[in-house]
Protein backbone atom coordinates (compact mmCIF):
# COMPACT_ATOMS: atom_id res chain seq x y z
CA UNK A 1 0.00 0.00 0.00
CA UNK A 2 1.21 3.45 -0.84
CA UNK A 3 2.52 6.01 1.61
CA UNK A 4 3.51 9.67 1.64
CA UNK A 5 6.46 10.72 3.80
CA UNK A 6 6.30 14.50 4.14
CA UNK A 7 9.54 16.39 3.83
CA UNK A 8 10.77 18.99 6.33
CA UNK A 9 12.26 21.42 3.81
CA UNK A 10 15.56 21.42 1.90
CA UNK A 11 15.24 17.68 1.27
CA UNK A 12 15.25 16.62 4.93
CA UNK A 13 12.84 14.25 6.71
CA UNK A 14 12.63 15.00 10.42
CA UNK A 15 9.89 12.44 11.06
CA UNK A 16 12.08 9.54 9.92
CA UNK A 17 14.35 7.98 12.58
CA UNK A 18 18.05 8.70 12.04
CA UNK A 19 20.40 5.73 12.47
CA UNK A 20 24.06 6.36 13.21
CA UNK A 21 26.07 5.58 10.10
CA UNK A 22 29.63 4.37 10.64
CA UNK A 23 31.78 5.39 7.72
CA UNK A 24 35.55 5.82 7.82
CA UNK A 25 36.15 8.25 10.65
CA UNK A 26 32.48 9.22 10.59
CA UNK A 27 31.34 10.25 14.06
CA UNK A 28 28.21 12.20 13.30
CA UNK A 29 26.98 10.68 10.05
CA UNK A 30 23.38 9.49 9.85
CA UNK A 31 21.23 7.28 7.66
CA UNK A 32 17.43 7.46 7.33
CA UNK A 33 15.41 4.82 5.50
CA UNK A 34 12.81 6.70 3.44
CA UNK A 35 11.45 3.63 1.64
CA UNK A 36 12.16 0.11 2.83
CA UNK A 37 10.66 -3.14 3.93
CA UNK A 38 8.39 -1.34 6.42
CA UNK A 39 6.65 0.16 3.36
CA UNK A 40 6.32 -3.28 1.82
CA UNK A 41 9.00 -2.44 -0.75
CA UNK A 42 10.45 -5.75 -1.91
CA UNK A 43 12.46 -4.54 -4.90
CA UNK A 44 14.48 -1.51 -3.76
CA UNK A 45 15.20 0.72 -0.77
CA UNK A 46 15.68 4.49 -0.66
CA UNK A 47 17.91 5.90 2.06
CA UNK A 48 19.09 9.45 2.92
CA UNK A 49 22.55 10.14 4.33
CA UNK A 50 24.09 13.20 5.98
CA UNK A 51 27.86 13.22 6.36
CA UNK A 52 29.24 16.11 8.46
CA UNK A 53 32.11 18.32 7.32
CA UNK A 54 35.45 16.53 7.55
CA UNK A 55 33.92 13.06 7.49
CA UNK A 56 33.67 10.31 4.87
CA UNK A 57 31.60 7.28 4.02
CA UNK A 58 33.11 3.80 4.30
CA UNK A 59 35.86 2.78 1.86
CA UNK A 60 34.17 -0.36 0.66
CA UNK A 61 32.80 -2.60 -2.04
CA UNK A 62 29.95 -5.10 -1.90
CA UNK A 63 27.66 -7.02 -4.25
CA UNK A 64 24.82 -4.48 -4.25
CA UNK A 65 24.98 -1.44 -6.51
CA UNK A 66 24.03 2.14 -5.57
CA UNK A 67 22.17 4.98 -7.23
CA UNK A 68 22.99 8.32 -5.60
CA UNK A 69 21.51 11.82 -6.00
CA UNK A 70 23.42 14.59 -4.23
CA UNK A 71 20.98 16.93 -2.48
CA UNK A 72 23.35 19.29 -0.62
CA UNK A 73 27.06 20.02 -0.23
CA UNK A 74 30.16 18.95 -2.08
CA UNK A 75 32.32 15.83 -2.01
CA UNK A 76 34.79 13.72 -3.85
CA UNK A 77 33.58 10.27 -4.77
CA UNK A 78 35.87 7.34 -5.50
CA UNK A 79 34.64 5.03 -8.26
CA UNK A 80 37.07 2.20 -8.74
CA UNK A 81 40.42 3.99 -8.79
CA UNK A 82 39.28 7.47 -9.87
CA UNK A 83 38.09 10.39 -7.73
CA UNK A 84 35.35 12.71 -9.07
CA UNK A 85 34.10 16.06 -7.73
CA UNK A 86 30.36 16.05 -7.07
CA UNK A 87 27.82 18.56 -5.82
CA UNK A 88 24.06 19.17 -5.60
CA UNK A 89 22.09 17.62 -8.42
CA UNK A 90 24.77 15.22 -9.60
CA UNK A 91 23.72 11.58 -10.03
CA UNK A 92 26.23 8.82 -9.31
CA UNK A 93 25.94 5.17 -10.25
CA UNK A 94 28.17 2.78 -8.28
CA UNK A 95 28.35 -0.68 -9.81
CA UNK A 96 28.20 -4.04 -8.13
CA UNK A 97 31.48 -4.81 -6.29
CA UNK A 98 32.98 -1.45 -7.26
CA UNK A 99 35.27 0.15 -4.67
CA UNK A 100 33.77 3.47 -3.57
CA UNK A 101 33.86 6.21 -0.96
CA UNK A 102 32.46 9.73 -0.50
CA UNK A 103 34.67 12.35 1.20
CA UNK A 104 32.93 15.55 2.25
CA UNK A 105 34.99 18.45 0.87
CA UNK A 106 32.73 21.28 2.04
CA UNK A 107 32.20 23.36 5.16
CA UNK A 108 28.73 21.94 5.84
CA UNK A 109 26.99 18.60 5.67
CA UNK A 110 27.22 16.50 2.53
CA UNK A 111 23.79 14.96 1.90
CA UNK A 112 22.49 12.46 -0.61
CA UNK A 113 19.72 10.06 -1.51
CA UNK A 114 20.89 6.48 -2.06
CA UNK A 115 19.01 3.68 -3.82
CA UNK A 116 19.94 0.03 -3.29
CA UNK A 117 18.25 -3.23 -4.21
CA UNK A 118 16.08 -4.34 -1.29
CA UNK A 119 18.52 -7.14 -0.42
CA UNK A 120 21.27 -4.51 0.06
CA UNK A 121 19.49 -2.79 2.98
CA UNK A 122 19.52 -4.90 6.14
CA UNK A 123 18.25 -2.28 8.63
CA UNK A 124 14.74 -1.66 7.41
Amino acid sequence: MGTVQKGSGNFTWQNVPAIRYEGDGAQGATKQILIGKSNGAENFALRYFEIPAGEASAYEHHPHDHGVVITRGTAQVLLGDTWHDVSEGDVVYIGSDEQHQFKNTGDGAFCFLCIVPAWGEKQG
Copy 2:
Protein backbone atom coordinates in the same frame (compact mmCIF):
# COMPACT_ATOMS: atom_id res chain seq x y z
CA MET B 1 31.41 0.51 -13.72
CA GLY B 2 30.49 3.72 -11.97
CA THR B 3 29.43 6.92 -13.65
CA VAL B 4 28.74 10.53 -12.68
CA GLN B 5 25.90 12.38 -14.45
CA LYS B 6 26.39 16.07 -13.77
CA GLY B 7 23.31 18.08 -12.92
CA SER B 8 22.32 21.34 -14.64
CA GLY B 9 21.00 23.14 -11.55
CA ASN B 10 17.70 22.90 -9.67
CA PHE B 11 17.71 19.11 -10.06
CA THR B 12 17.65 19.07 -13.85
CA TRP B 13 19.87 17.06 -16.24
CA GLN B 14 20.18 18.76 -19.62
CA ASN B 15 22.71 16.24 -20.94
CA VAL B 16 20.29 13.32 -20.60
CA PRO B 17 17.93 12.73 -23.56
CA ALA B 18 14.30 13.59 -22.80
CA ILE B 19 11.72 11.08 -23.97
CA ARG B 20 8.13 12.18 -24.48
CA TYR B 21 6.01 10.76 -21.69
CA GLU B 22 2.36 10.06 -22.48
CA GLY B 23 0.27 10.46 -19.38
CA ASP B 24 -3.45 11.20 -19.31
CA GLY B 25 -3.80 14.32 -21.38
CA ALA B 26 -0.06 14.94 -21.10
CA GLN B 27 1.19 16.78 -24.20
CA GLY B 28 4.50 18.16 -22.95
CA ALA B 29 5.54 15.72 -20.24
CA THR B 30 9.03 14.23 -20.42
CA LYS B 31 10.96 11.34 -18.92
CA GLN B 32 14.75 11.10 -18.60
CA ILE B 33 16.53 7.91 -17.57
CA LEU B 34 19.24 8.95 -15.12
CA ILE B 35 20.32 5.41 -14.20
CA GLY B 36 19.32 2.40 -16.27
CA LYS B 37 20.56 -0.56 -18.21
CA SER B 38 23.01 1.63 -20.16
CA ASN B 39 24.82 2.13 -16.84
CA GLY B 40 24.85 -1.61 -16.27
CA ALA B 41 22.22 -1.26 -13.54
CA GLU B 42 20.49 -4.63 -13.30
CA ASN B 43 18.54 -4.09 -10.07
CA PHE B 44 16.80 -0.72 -10.33
CA ALA B 45 16.32 2.28 -12.61
CA LEU B 46 16.15 5.98 -11.72
CA ARG B 47 14.06 8.23 -13.92
CA TYR B 48 13.21 11.97 -13.81
CA PHE B 49 9.83 13.31 -14.94
CA GLU B 50 8.58 16.82 -15.69
CA ILE B 51 4.83 17.26 -16.01
CA PRO B 52 3.72 20.71 -17.25
CA ALA B 53 1.04 22.76 -15.52
CA GLY B 54 -2.44 21.39 -16.18
CA GLU B 55 -1.21 17.90 -17.08
CA ALA B 56 -1.22 14.55 -15.30
CA SER B 57 0.58 11.24 -15.32
CA ALA B 58 -1.22 8.10 -16.49
CA TYR B 59 -4.07 6.71 -14.37
CA GLU B 60 -2.67 3.22 -14.07
CA HIS B 61 -1.52 0.24 -12.09
CA HIS B 62 1.11 -2.38 -12.90
CA PRO B 63 3.20 -5.02 -11.17
CA HIS B 64 6.26 -2.82 -10.53
CA ASP B 65 6.32 -0.49 -7.53
CA HIS B 66 7.58 3.11 -7.51
CA GLY B 67 9.65 5.24 -5.17
CA VAL B 68 9.13 8.95 -5.85
CA VAL B 69 10.90 12.07 -4.55
CA ILE B 70 9.23 15.38 -5.49
CA THR B 71 11.88 17.87 -6.58
CA ARG B 72 9.74 20.83 -7.72
CA GLY B 73 6.12 21.95 -7.84
CA THR B 74 2.91 20.69 -6.32
CA ALA B 75 0.51 17.90 -7.19
CA GLN B 76 -2.16 15.59 -5.96
CA VAL B 77 -1.24 11.93 -6.00
CA LEU B 78 -3.77 9.12 -6.06
CA LEU B 79 -2.79 6.06 -4.03
CA GLY B 80 -5.45 3.39 -4.30
CA ASP B 81 -8.64 5.40 -3.74
CA THR B 82 -7.22 8.36 -1.79
CA TRP B 83 -5.78 11.64 -3.08
CA HIS B 84 -2.86 13.26 -1.20
CA ASP B 85 -1.33 16.73 -1.60
CA VAL B 86 2.41 16.58 -2.28
CA SER B 87 5.17 19.12 -2.83
CA GLU B 88 8.96 19.46 -2.94
CA GLY B 89 10.76 17.05 -0.66
CA ASP B 90 7.88 14.66 -0.14
CA VAL B 91 8.62 10.97 -0.69
CA VAL B 92 5.90 8.72 -2.09
CA TYR B 93 5.87 4.94 -2.17
CA ILE B 94 3.47 3.35 -4.68
CA GLY B 95 2.99 -0.36 -4.11
CA SER B 96 2.86 -3.16 -6.62
CA ASP B 97 -0.43 -3.13 -8.57
CA GLU B 98 -1.67 -0.04 -6.74
CA GLN B 99 -3.79 2.38 -8.77
CA HIS B 100 -2.00 5.74 -8.97
CA GLN B 101 -1.84 9.08 -10.76
CA PHE B 102 -0.13 12.46 -10.29
CA LYS B 103 -2.10 15.60 -11.20
CA ASN B 104 -0.07 18.82 -11.37
CA THR B 105 -1.91 21.41 -9.24
CA GLY B 106 0.60 24.25 -9.63
CA ASP B 107 1.33 27.02 -12.10
CA GLY B 108 4.68 25.56 -13.16
CA ALA B 109 6.13 22.16 -13.91
CA PHE B 110 5.69 19.32 -11.45
CA CYS B 111 8.97 17.40 -11.29
CA PHE B 112 10.03 14.22 -9.55
CA LEU B 113 12.58 11.44 -9.36
CA CYS B 114 11.10 7.95 -9.75
CA ILE B 115 12.71 4.64 -8.84
CA VAL B 116 11.50 1.36 -10.30
CA PRO B 117 12.89 -2.16 -10.30
CA ALA B 118 14.99 -2.65 -13.45
CA TRP B 119 12.35 -4.89 -15.00
CA GLY B 120 9.83 -2.01 -14.71
CA GLU B 121 11.77 0.26 -17.10
CA LYS B 122 11.62 -0.91 -20.71
CA GLN B 123 13.11 2.16 -22.43
CA GLY B 124 16.68 2.19 -21.14
